[in-house]
């Protein structure tokens, strides 16, 4: 279970302070699937980095499974990142000139797993994301969607309880993006993974059970999705229109509290 209380992240830029997070309190239960939405600069990526233990808050408390993250030292944080959290980035962040298999093996290298076991677990993770036939390809030989699936396999290889993703579909065309979200849904249902991802695409967000709306570093409202969109459902026409430029204004109207 993820529990965040009164979280602040303040950057000082010369004289003025920027409040990237301005008192965020939220709770995500085990096995939930949640989307975090918000316009640029709303602090959603900052929140995600803190949830992923990649960054530390200026103040506030963050607990994972009743463990206060703020009290952990660097090695304990590294251990937490290695075993409890899988993180997927917008930019994929795969090692160049390195095969898909070796990219997926990377987290296991720091875990004292033997080479044989590493290879077995990495192959299994690649099979889960449907890329077992591409495991010897290098990132530059894979499409964007395939690269992101390699990154997801890397996030899953250590069997974490929580899968976090920062704009996982942001660099993908809508078809590949939809495939990635389908994969998240499958993992969520079949493995009972807690899945949290950031997006600014409402169609992508509505594949989850709950949407947390962030603005200016604060949670403005939470929205329960009664019927999450099933994986593979085609995008409605108006969404496609909105992709052609008018997206932002439309969404804000559309996502006034529905309940």
């Amino acid at each position: 279970m993820i529990e965040v209380k009164d979280l602040y992240k303040i950057y000082s830029l010369g004289d003025s302070d920027v409040h990237a997070l301005d008192g965020v309190t939220l709770k995500i239960d085990d096995g939930e699937m949640v989307a975090i939405m918000g316009p640029s600069g709303s602090g959603k990526s900052t929140l995600m980095a803190i949830l992923g233990c990649l960054d530390v808050p200026t103040k506030g408390s963050y607990m994972i499974n009743q463990q206060e993250v703020g009290k952990l030292n660097e090695n304990q944080l590294a251990n937490l990142r290695a075993h409890q959290i899988g993180f997927v980035f917008q930019q994929f962040n795969l090692l160049p000139r390195t095969s898909a298999l070796e990219n997926v093996e990377l987290p296991l290298i720091y875990d004292g797993v033997t080479a044989k076991q590493r290879s077995e677990k990495a192959k299994e993770a690649l099979r889960v994301v449907g890329l077992e036939d591409r495991m010897h390809h290098r990132p530059n030989q894979l499409s964007g969607g395939q690269q992101q699936r390699v990154a997801i396999a890397r996030a899953l290889v250590n069997d974490p309880a929580i899968l976090l993703a920062d704009e996982p579909t942001g660099n993908l065309d809508s078809k590949s993006g939809s495939e990635i979200i389908s994969l998240f849904q499958t993992l969520h249902k079949e493995k009972h993974l807690t899945v949290v991802y950031v997006t600014h695409d409402p169609f992508i967000a509505r594949h989850t059970e709950r949407i947390i709306h962030l603005k200016d570093g604060k949670i403005v409202f939470e929205e329960m999705v009664k019927n999450p969109i099933a994986a593979g459902t085609p995008r409605p026409d108006e969404e496609i229109d909105s992709l052609n430029g008018m997206r932002k204004g439309k969404h804000e109207v559309r996502h006034e509290p529905a309940q």
Binding site: A49, G52, L54, D55, E74, N75, A78, N79, R81, A82, H83, F87, F89, N93, L95, R97, T98, L106, P107, I109, Y110, D111, G112, A115, R154, N158
Partner: protein, 409 residues
């Protein structure tokens, strides 16, 4: 994170930028090769000088006086060695294996149409023992040669080839100062360098010399003078006792008190050896220091490349940390990369240094001596340099925050 894996990761990152790794490697290779080659050459020179000095004769003691060439000058007599000094030492000193009086003078020597100037050394049969000389043909000087004042000479190998150009000199006669002398022996070649070798000398019985050759130049106040006296102590342990006996005897014959300054140099081979070896080891150290500078420059090259590599791979470091790499693992990864470069450079440098030393030896000028110590030292310093210059960039990499590293453009 096991070591083998770290090394594999390091190798992959080194081979992914082959030219840069090679250039960095070159810095260390040149540094290590310079250290190995210069130390080997230095040690070779030291060993060569030492063995040559030792070959002059074991337990050698030399008494040298500054001979006065202008008889009658006041004070000149005090620093002149006399034949009587030799006799006094011969009769009184104990534990002396052999003792040779020496009077040297440059003379024109003629064989048929060939005339050259050589140093003629008047001495006795003990000269061969003292200097460990042997003859390659004919015979050495004998005691009877002095008793009979025989007009015989023993010549060095260089003299033999210069004067007789290929003919066997034994039995032939040369002309020195208008009289004929028969060559009875040729000395064994002692080495290519002229230092301390008898290759250029002509030896004659000293009595023959006084009688027919040296004339009044060798006389001072009616006494026969000497250039030096060479003697050999019975054992190495006797060297110091013989030196003090000689000191007392010389004070007696020259009427000097115990506190007066002895106007002669009484020196043992051991002293000469220690002086020489201290000079050559200083030289070796100096050469080594110069080579060490190039090694340090190579190390700075490694550090530079390592820092560039850390900057270039900031995102990679961020990612590794994001998937759970602890600080230690990042530190090791970069340290192992620099160590790999340094050790690889060390090995190649040692091979190159050994090759240079062997080439130098092949040229025949200097015999380089490659010791295990030299190799261990240069390999050790290469590894240390890798460690020293690798720690800072590795530390820089390890302390990056994962999110900042990932956002680095």
């Amino acid at each position: 994170m096991n070591l083998l894996n770290n090394i594999r990761v390091a190798f992959r990152s080194l081979t992914s930028n082959l030219l840069r790794s090679f250039l960095t490697l070159l810095g260390i290779v040149i540094g290590v090769a310079a250290v190995v080659a210069l130390l080997s050459i230095g040690q070779g020179v030291t060993a060569g000088v030492t063995s040559r000095v030792e070959s002059l004769g074991s337990n050698l003691i030399t008494i040298a006086g500054s001979r006065s060439f202008t008889p009658g000058v006041v004070g000149g007599t005090t620093s002149t060695l006399f034949y009587d000094d030799y006799t006094a030492i011969l009769q009184n000193a104990t534990n002396v294996l052999a003792i040779a009086p020496i009077y040297s003078s440059p003379e024109q020597v003629t064989y048929q149409d060939n005339t050259s100037s050589y140093q003629i050394t008047g001495t006795n049969e003990d000269y061969f023992t003292v200097h460990a000389y042997t003859v390659s043909s004919g015979r050495p000087l004998l005691a009877s040669d002095n008793d009979l004042r025989s007009k015989v000479i023993v010549i060095g190998s260089t003299v033999a080839s210069e004067l007789f150009s290929g003919l066997n000199p034994v039995g032939r006669s040369v002309t020195i100062n208008n009289s004929d002398y028969e060559v009875v022996g040729v000395l064994t070649t002692s080495g290519s360098a002229s230092f301390g070798s008898g290759d250029n000398s002509i030896l004659i019985p000293i009595e023959t010399g006084y009688t027919y050759l040296f004339g009044s130049r060798a006389m001072l106040n009616g006494q026969r003078t000497l250039s030096s006296i060479a003697l050999s102590a019975a054992t190495a342990n006797d060297v110091n006792s013989v030196i003090s006996q000689v000191d007392i005897i010389l004070r007696g014959t020259h009427g000097l008190g115990l506190t007066d300054t002895l106007p002669f140099t009484v020196s043992s081979q051991a002293q000469a050896l220690s002086t020489l070896s201290s000079i050559t080891s200083t030289l070796t150290l100096f050469l080594g220091a110069i080579a060490a500078i190039s090694l340090i420059v190579g190390g700075i090259g490694i550090m530079n490349i390592s820092l560039v590599s850390v900057t270039e791979r900031t995102r990679e470091i961020g990612l590794r940390k994001a998937v759970g790499a602890p600080r230690r693992a990042i530190l090791f990864q970069f340290l192992i990369e620099t160590m790999t470069l340094a050790i690889l450079g060390g090995v190649v440098g040692i091979l190159l240094g050994v090759a240079i030393s062997l080439l130098v030896s092949l040229s025949g000028l200097i015999h380089a001596s490659i010791t295990a110590g030299t190799i261990a030292l240069s390999f050790g310093s290469a590894a240390l340099i890798g460690l020293f210059f690798g720690i800072y960039p590795a530390y820089q990499a390890s302390k990056l925050s994962p999110i900042e590293a990932l956002r680095y453009e």
